[in-house]
Symmetry: C2
Subunit: 301 residues, 2 copies
């Protein structure tokens, strides 16, 4: 039986403006990006909430990719909406408007067939909800999670409690500095490691990522993309490729994580080349393999 991967997070509609143009009512959300990305590596079980305005078509797209949507709950009201712009800086979204809608009262409840999932990704939601989901999983083999500046700011104790229970934290450079209080990224990653997780991945956008694993360090550049069309979801797509690969291999050692990060990097590079998850949905294993080889080539001596 294949290992499977549980993800809890958001499903949303985005209104995105970038230097390449804009897209309204664009399918988004951390759990959606993560699921589509991870689905190229392993079966995915999705936990999220949608409103009554969410088209069946997108659920069909998920199911076609071996993504179990029995944990995708429909509630009365509107789906989560986010409006943002990358016009001034492709590396950082400027949030113009956030309407949580049905997401505001989201209390994830795992369907029974989700409860023994061995690999878990807690996408960026309130750390109390992340903890709550984790408590519903029987004996997970590997738990990774994401977070954001908001939770570091207003829910730090819950986040610190969560960090003691997970294997890997994935966060971006600004968040790593904020959480650790250190301006050097290696020092920041090590400080976060001492808060609990065996491994910490710091995402540096166009500059790639770094991994601290026990006493080892790994640094990988981003796959070079000349025209970034829409960076939305890059981090979740990266996480999807990374944890998806780990789940597929069923191994969580340093060398497995290194390769996993390269797959995460590849998935993120495809994603930013187009709006929404247009590129992810049309992707093939061959394209992923070819770009993985190319990433190794351009980063190897």
């Amino acid at each position: 039986m294949n290992n499977s991967l549980l993800v809890v997070g958001s499903v949303a509609f985005d209104h995105v403006t970038t230097p390449s143009g804009n897209r309204e009512e664009s399918l988004g959300g951390s759990a959606t990006y993560f699921s589509h990305s991870a689905s190229f590596f392993c079966p995915v079980k999705l936990v999220a909430v949608i409103g009554d305005d969410f088209p069946q078509k997108y659920i069909d797209d998920l199911n076609k990719k071996n993504i179990d949507t029995s944990g995708l709950i429909r509630r009365q009201g509107k789906t989560f909406r986010w409006k943002g712009s990358y016009v001034n800086d492709l590396n950082e979204a400027e949030t113009i408007e956030t309407n949580l809608n049905v997401f505001e009262t989201f209390k994830p409840v795992l369907p029974d067939n989700y409860k023994d999932t061995p690999f878990v990704f807690l996408a960026n939601i309130d750390p109390d909800l992340q903890l709550n989901v984790l408590e519903q999983v029987k004996s997970p083999k590997f738990v990774a999670c994401d977070t954001m500046n908001l939770w570091i700011d207003i829910k730090k104790n819950s986040l610190l409690n969560l960090l003691k229970k997970i294997d890997l934290l994935i966060l971006n450079d600004g968040e790593a500095k904020m959480l650790s209080g250190k301006s050097n990224l290696i020092s920041a990653a090590k400080a976060i490691q001492s808060m609990g997780p065996k491994s910490v991945i710091v995402k540096k956008g166009e500059h790639g990522s770094l991994l601290v694993y026990e006493n080892d360090l790994f640094v990988l550049p981003a796959y070079p993309i000349e025209t970034v069309v829409d960076p939305t979801g890059a981090g979740d797509t990266f996480a999807g490729g990374t944890i998806g690969y780990i789940c597929k291999k069923g191994k969580t050692g340093f060398n497995d994580l290194k390769k996993a990060i390269a797959y995460g990097t590849v998935m993120a590079s495809f994603n930013v080349e187009n709006f929404s998850m247009d590129n992810l949905i049309g992707l093939t294993d061959d394209k992923i393999s070819a770009r993985f080889d190319e990433l190794l080539k351009i980063s190897s001596i």
Copy 2:
């Protein structure tokens, strides 16, 4: 006979303030950093100007490292002084004061024994002077150069003329964007390549560097340093290791350049761990090799 490497640039005294402290009358200058770094790889021939205040001790230090100083001219007046601070940003110096002194009227004249040097590095000086030096070299095998925002701004035509005559331009990310008018670094490097040089290296500070060589691309992270004491001279030290290695091997292909950049990265990492060139002067081949291996390890899958 060993290949040798000609460098023209500045020799200076710096007054540097960083988060780690400050250093007055600190030995600096592009040609000094470059020479000390390159001297671990090949014999160096230095062209620069100093004032009557420059201590013989520093010349002795250069000579001990197989750096020929017959092109280091002493003029009446004071040596070039630069005062800068990295207190707000370790990645970018804030210039507080520049006193060119004897450097202001510097007209480099190559001693006869310099004129057939096969490898040439034109450190960051007025591109008209870079062109003038280049004309004095008989038939160089490989010419690399650096530049800065000032020359891109006020001497662009001379710089463009120079670019047609060199093999490799090394510049930082901000300069690459400014010179090319492109915000994406890969696009910027390719655009600069189309101005003349076969190869372009873009330095990204703590994020490493990238190389565009013909149609190939190579990306290498920086060697991770937790405490950067003084970033002054990092770029010139990087160039010294890079071109020094190229000179030592006598080969200028893609694979040679990749390895060369790794050596440049290693040399720069040592340099930023201490003020001035204190670390470079005490360095050993064994330490360089060990860190080179470590850089390969942390950046390899």
